[in-house]
Symmetry: D2
Subunit: 309 residues, 4 copies
């Protein structure tokens, strides 16, 4: 499998981890999910991310999920694996293991105690050194990590670490950060890396206009992101925006912290992708009202897409 | 002026504080803004809130703004004043001053160091005692305050403090919190208080369905909130949702932390409400791209509203 | 090996994890360390704690360290193993594994996103359910976890979970919390559990007076804690305080966040307990001034202990 | 009154704000407190600091306290006034007011949302611009503000802002930060500014050895800090450390967050300095055990000082 590099574009779907009602890994649903994402146009997959309930898996289960996904993907698209960990030894262990198994790269988010520019830079410099030749995605997600990384620090990391090939951008607000990073590479100050965006896609059209190469997020309708990216790429911005607007009410609803993953899995189960909407403990649950609202939003979304043609 | 009580409904607009380009108070724009909000159907106004740049005003300026707004409102709708402060003495001083001047009530957010249920309850119990007979709004906004208040604690406060007449609800996700609080008063466990919702209105239709009485937020198109609330009240949920959806792309865009207030003031200036979009220092500024995106969203919004009829 | 229960007293030393200069596990030093702690009077050991660099170990290394310590201890004192994890599945896996291998109990700290009383209670209720019959220590360390647990919530957990047999108390300030918890069991409201205290022992004499049963912390001179506890137990409070005061300057110095573990390992290496003072990456390093200050404090401490007799 | 400059040394006591039992300002105690601090050797005073309960005062009360202290000091030592505020307008208003009244300088802590190096630098650059020619103290207190300022950022601020004349250093651990800042000025990279240290003095001897010029903190025995600084200055490091060690048990006890100020005021009341130990609401209260422990520590401290001679 070719390694991840700076040319990556399109939609890398953040995969959920399917469980049975009793909390066991559901590997058949995992296969079906891979097929679903690829049919919908995913250009890559990301597993063991925050929305993949990675911290709830044992080390053995993590390895099992990765191997299963890789086997099913069978080289059709690159697979990125989240390897964030408080220490470098478990990070390196998992990284080496999954690269050996055929992953295209790994993703690293900073631990939440980092504050100053130098602390953040040093962390990624050391991580890159530990990971060796493995290409990595820098995950910039301050709402989850509490770590604020300035464009200047991202540029320093890109310069110092040739294996940093992608930014998973989900700072919020972060549109001007994309603009600043692209300006730096346009000026020739830094390498141009791939930028894929998160936050459920809620700023996707603006992000693409600012220079992002696509999305890396897990909204339960990956075809929204695929179609928006394609419309944008062929210059049909109005169509991109119309499509985006049609899905926006549900994108917004799915973006509720904690509740969001329940809604996403509910929708994926409803769509027949996974057998059960269950999260592994600790997990909340949807109320009847949550479900009714989700259903209503899906129904309206379908009507609107139909009207849109 | 009658005092705020549990029957308040509709839209209390969170007023911005207009400044001139050089950062001075712009009182003429303040008058125009009051007129604008009332013309659009506001049933109340809230001044000196977080989005009113309250902490940037001197004590004298705060008093001046409140008096100016009260004079212009001239009793047509109730005015709520934000009085949150780290200590009770300045809170009480400002509260007494504005109630004397004709405010209908005050709003109190918890200081960010509160954590346990008892700490939160005690804080509001003491605040209520200090405020005397002044009715107050409990502001529940964890994303800004870091304080998480469970429905049970809100109910304890409502029971213990007869002057707590309204919840400004902006927990996120918070829909099930509304449901839980309404269930408690439906069961007769607590008084039924008014619930007005924030977060720029981004969950407004769902919040109304869960039992909220309206909105208290500052989106630059208050007519959206007014029209959605009215459609909801007359039972026309489809119309409420259609209206909401038409404004949603801009609601979402305005919800960007820090940037959001710049966008809101830009829009209000564009609409002729305030003379300058300037924030007082410390303040960021909109980039050319931010402005272009805002303009594009407004243009699309207008087209869609026209199509909607 | 008997299981941990509510009668535990004395000093459970929080063990460091010895590494070689190149960051490999140093198992010979681990043996020597166990012998050292026991010779100094430890009544228990705690491994894989925060100060044991647990998150830096791979799953396999964690298991290896636990087995090595258990083999060397050979049943002479109970061994507690830190099993805190973001998800219950890895927590349960490690717990079952170490209990199988002969550990006396496990220790659980709450994940940092917990805020309300009910959230905290539910977390421990579910953790206890997952851990089955394994006795566990509730670690209350708000400075590290950001989770503030009121005495009332601790009492709820103790009532609901018979396997919660010990509190590792390191709230700061927390003396009145000990008093409140002891008052509850004195009144017969709750079971009396063991309370061992942390924070490097910096409040040890006061904690014992408030009703704590001893210490669970890792100061590089465990004989301080042992001797203070023994003096306290035989009612010689003046001697306990004199001893404490003699060590206090170094206790204080070792309590510097991040730097503290470097100082502790430096001291243990100087005392011949471990071969290398190295921490595994990510790790800071002591400056020449840090080392000079440590040496000076140790020299003064020895002189003062000699004078004390 | 001469303005504060880079040559300041010795002990600037962080003054408490004395209240009566009912929470009113106690201006007679304020006078007595000023006399007490000066008799004990203070080389400066700092009012309206965090430990001065500044946020609990109304704007008018703040002005009253400052004027009263300035009148009593009557130019004998410089008085610094805390002016930290979320907005620059109230900061500037208070600063101009107190400088007019005779203060020697002001103190500014960063607001807690600042994270990146550039955000912190810009904040102080703008603050300095707003404050005009008024000399200011940069308060570096991450435990209270959550803002981590690297030595490099402090150096940038010192270079860009000629009115930044002093660092109130209370990072913890922060000894190597003092070393780094002194190294920069020794190399000629920056102006040498005054460094006075906080945290109740718990690292005072080490801080002086690292190049600090003294202390700015409020321990209830300011003579400790004065005598330690004097002994250090005349090169008698053993005496400095002996004195420090004698007070350390109480320094440590007074350093408990929240509780600390209650203990400090209790001690000052016991020493006859202030009439009442009361804090203004919101405030906790000392338990009987807290008081007994404080009394015991004071008694032991006196015995030890006597033995020390």
């Amino acid at each position: 499998m070719p390694l991840l590099d700076e040319t990556a574009t399109g939609v890398f779907v953040i995969a959920v981890t399917p469980f049975t009602e009793t909390g066991a890994l559901d590997l058949e649903s995992t296969d079906r999910m891979v097929d679903f994402y690829l049919e919908k146009g995913a250009t890559g997959l990301t597993v063991l991310g925050m929305m993949g309930e990675a911290p709830k898996l044992t080390a053995e289960e993590s390895a099992l999920v990765v191997r299963r996904v890789l086997a099913r993907v069978a080289g059709r698209v690159p697979v990125v694996v989240g390897v964030s960990a408080p220490g470098f030894a478990p990070m390196k262990e998992l990284s080496d293991q999954v690269m050996q198994a055929g992953a295209a790269g790994v993703m690293v988010a900073p631990p939440s105690h980092l504050r100053t520019d130098d602390q953040i830079f040093s962390y990624f410099e050391t991580a890159a050194e530990m990971l060796g030749s493995t290409p990595f995605v820098l995950q910039d997600f301050p709402q989850a990590t509490s770590v604020q990384i300035s464009p200047g620090v991202i540029n320093r990391i890109v310069k110092a670490c040739p294996t940093c090939v992608m930014l998973k951008h989900e700072d919020w607000p972060g549109l001007n950060k994309i603009t600043a990073i692209r300006a730096a590479s346009d000026r020739g100050d830094t390498r141009r890396i791939s930028i894929l965006c998160g936050n459920g896609g809620i700023f996707l059209t603006e992000e693409l206009s600012r220079g992002a190469d696509g999305a890396m997020t897990g909204f339960a309708y990956p075809e929204m992101m695929v179609d928006v990216c394609r419309a944008h790429q062929r210059g049909d911005h109005a169509r991109a925006q119309d499509l985006f607007d049609a899905y926006l009410p549900l994108v917004r609803y799915e973006l509720q912290p904690n509740l969001g993953l329940l809604i996403r899995k509910y929708t994926l189960a409803k769509r027949g992708v996974i057998a059960s909407a269950a999260l592994r403990k600790p997990a909340g649950r949807l109320s009847p009202q949550d479900i009714a609202e989700t259903e209503r939003l899906i129904a309206r979304q379908e009507a609107r897409l139909k009207a849109l043609g």
